[in-house]
Symmetry: C2
Subunit: 122 residues, 2 copies
DNA sequence: ATGATTATTCAATAACTATTGAACAATAGC
DNA sequence: GCTATTGTTCAATAGTTATTGAATAATCAT
């Protein structure tokens, strides 16, 4: 993943309304939700919701498709995983042993941490 | 990690200059770099660099310490790992099987993907 | 002390992002 | 065809973030 792409994705996740929208889409994956449902669930005015959804779709983190008069939005989970991988790669590149030692100290449960980045091949 | 904290961190990573700075600090972990070195390496005016470094430090993604007339900045790798964990959790919450299947299909090498999120306990 | 080096703060401006109500377009049901 | 429903686009405004040069502070070397 290129840095520019990554920055665009982080820009989406950097706004609280957008992060909420995305989390909701992940929760309702793989079917997703239509705009009206999102607006109701998060209590965001529809016009502002459209604005944010446009940004999210533009980043690639969600897809949209028309369904009659509704528009259905679905989270792009592979792209989210690629983003996770990007951050992990940043961590490991050049510093595998560091990554390993920090993982051991961090208070985060092991099953939520990236695995085996310290084993990767150069 | 709270959503608000995550949003702050994503805000840091959402700007290209800041993402470059952070990547550089990760690359030079654990010793970090002093401001002047960063400015030279990335060709960012020092006054603008200060501005961005302040944001990064405020988010917690880097620490700063004076060294004579230099200021040394170091990446906070554990916080980056927590952020990775947060994204992973978002992905998996409610959808472990989905996460698993997408991981299998994704073109990303397994050692760069979050592991065993599908095994986590509720 | 003086001058050179390093980095931050300040102030001004530029650029961008968010929010909202009103207008508009498209579809569905009668 | 009309009306209600669903969503998007537009325009105006508000708010926030980025960038820069000039001024300032702190340290080091002589």
């Amino acid at each position: 993943m290129e840095a520019k792409t990554a920055a665009t994705i982080f820009e989406v996740l950097a706004s609280e309304p957008r992060l909420s929208i995305f989390r909701l889409l992940v929760k309702y994956a793989p079917d997703g939700l239509v705009a009206g449902e999102i607006a109701r669930m998060l209590d965001i005015p529809k016009t502002n919701l459209s604005f944010h959804l446009k940004t999210i779709v533009h980043s690639g983190l969600a897809s949209m498709e028309r369904e009659g008069r509704n528009t259905r939005y679905k989270a792009n989970i592979p792209l989210m995983l690629e983003t996770v991988a990007y951050l992990t790669t940043e961590c490991c590149s050049g510093n595998p042993e560091l990554c390993l030692s920090f993982r051991a100290e961090s208070g985060v449960a092991p099953e939520f941490l990236p695995s085996r980045c310290e084993d990767r091949k150069p």
